[in-house]
């Protein structure tokens, strides 16, 4: 259960695993394996979470009220009905936006110092 007094900024900075999962859920609900595939895709295959990290982080996000389990179950003909689907809560979305803004600020600072554009 999330603490209603917490603001998105209180959760920052996020760990890479947390941000990756929030990012993976930003465009709709997914099950654990779907999240893992999405994370692998958005990191260009450089990160493949282990099941322990994936579900340990999911547990923390559920407790923090950033994601929730979806009540809807997939059509058994289309997917394994034993899977659990997760989606962002409005708080989780605000946290993801706040973290994105924080990272964007850092990125602008790195650009101004000419650190972008590949290592020489």
């Amino acid at each position: 259960m999330s603490d209603s007094t917490l603001q998105p900024q209180d959760m920052l900075p996020l760990t890479p695993a947390v941000f990756h999962i929030l990012l993976a859920l930003a465009d709709g609900e997914k099950h654990g394996y779907g999240i893992m595939q999405e994370v692998t895709a958005i990191t260009g295959g450089t990160i493949r979470m282990g099941p322990g990290t994936l579900y340990g982080t999911i547990k923390r996000l559920l407790e923090a009220g950033m994601i929730e389990e979806s009540d809807e179950r997939p059509d058994p003909a289309l997917d394994d009905e034993r899977r659990r689907y997760y989606r962002l809560t409005s708080f989780g979305e605000r946290v993801a936006r706040a973290e994105t803004a924080r990272l964007a600020t850092l990125l602008r600072a790195a650009q101004s110092k000419r650190l972008m554009g590949g290592a020489s």
């Binding site: 394996y33 099941p51 322990g52 990290t53 340990g56 997917d79």
Partner: protein, 273 residues
């Protein structure tokens, strides 16, 4: 769409082994997430086997083992802390009540006639109870800090911490005085910290009503020690009825605080059930 299964004996065997290794996680966590983790492990095994063959599976297995060891340790550490924290909160009320009642009994030591600088008779017997009383109050206040810390604010938390630490030092100091008189200094330092904490927390509770007791109750636990430390009150020779009333009032106030804390906690547990 359900993905095409690529079950090989090797994958089946690895999944069985992975399921067995899930025993490393705490039971609650395993019950909630174990089947899901095993399912994800199998899905990834099948994917990797299709794309990279046996070598890929070996690499994935090594990564998974490392991940399992790290996260199982993390979950076990978390459970241990959560259980000890919850236990301390649950027992804080009875601990404070017991500490308070011991202080009430100790108060009768002040009826001992003669010098209070030497230990003998009933005085000695009852003063032995002072050490466990303060230790119980100290530990109980750690539970109060954990339970009410969030609404007490930063100064309230610091004051509760001072009460807990001060009472523990006091308790240890009282025990040590049995071996050498100079150890009264340790008890004195503990009493100073305890008094600072009780006075500050007592004042905050008067304003904010942090604890589920009458607002005046917590500050009473610091009044007599404050008077003793400032020289406004001291007992050189007994019997002293005022000292008895002071000590007894501190004990009663801690007992009331403990009872109210326990009662409120029990109500919230019942409400949540």
């Amino acid at each position: 769409m359900i993905q095409q299964r690529t079950n090989t004996p090797m994958i089946d065997w690895l999944v069985r082994l992975y399921r067995m290794l899930l025993i490393l996680y705490p039971a609650d966590y395993r019950a909630a997430y174990g089947p899901l983790m095993a399912q994800v492990f199998r899905d990834v095994c099948q994917d990797i086997y299709r794309q990279q063959g046996t070598l890929g599976i070996v690499m994935w297995w090594c990564t998974t083992l490392f991940d399992l060891a790290l996260t199982a340790f993390e979950q076990r550490r978390k459970v241990r802390f959560t259980v000890s924290k919850a236990g301390l909160i649950r027992f804080s009320g009875p601990l404070l009540t017991a500490g308070g009642l011991l202080l009430v009994v100790t108060a009768f030591s002040q009826l001992q006639p003669g010098s209070h600088y030497s230990y003998y008779g009933v005085y000695q017997l009852l003063m032995f109870l002072l050490a466990p009383a303060f230790v119980l109050i100290g530990i109980g206040n750690f539970g109060v800090l954990l339970h009410y810390g969030a609404r007490a604010g930063i100064f309230g938390r610091l004051a509760l911490f001072a009460i807990a630490i001060g009472a523990l030092i006091c308790g240890i100091g009282f025990v040590l005085t049995m071996f050498r008189d100079s150890f009264w200094n340790i008890a004195g330092v503990g009493l100073l910290i305890y008094t600072g904490g009780t006075v500050i927390f007592g004042l905050l509770n008067l304003v904010m009503g942090i604890l589920p007791v009458f607002k005046i109750v917590p500050i009473i636990t610091g009044v007599q020690p404050l008077m003793m430390l400032t020289g406004l009150f001291y007992v050189e020779r007994g019997p002293d009825i005022y000292a008895l009333i002071f000590m007894m009032s501190i004990g009663i106030c801690w007992a009331i605080t403990g009872f109210a804390t326990h009662n409120r906690l029990r109500q919230s547990v019942l409400a949540a059930a």
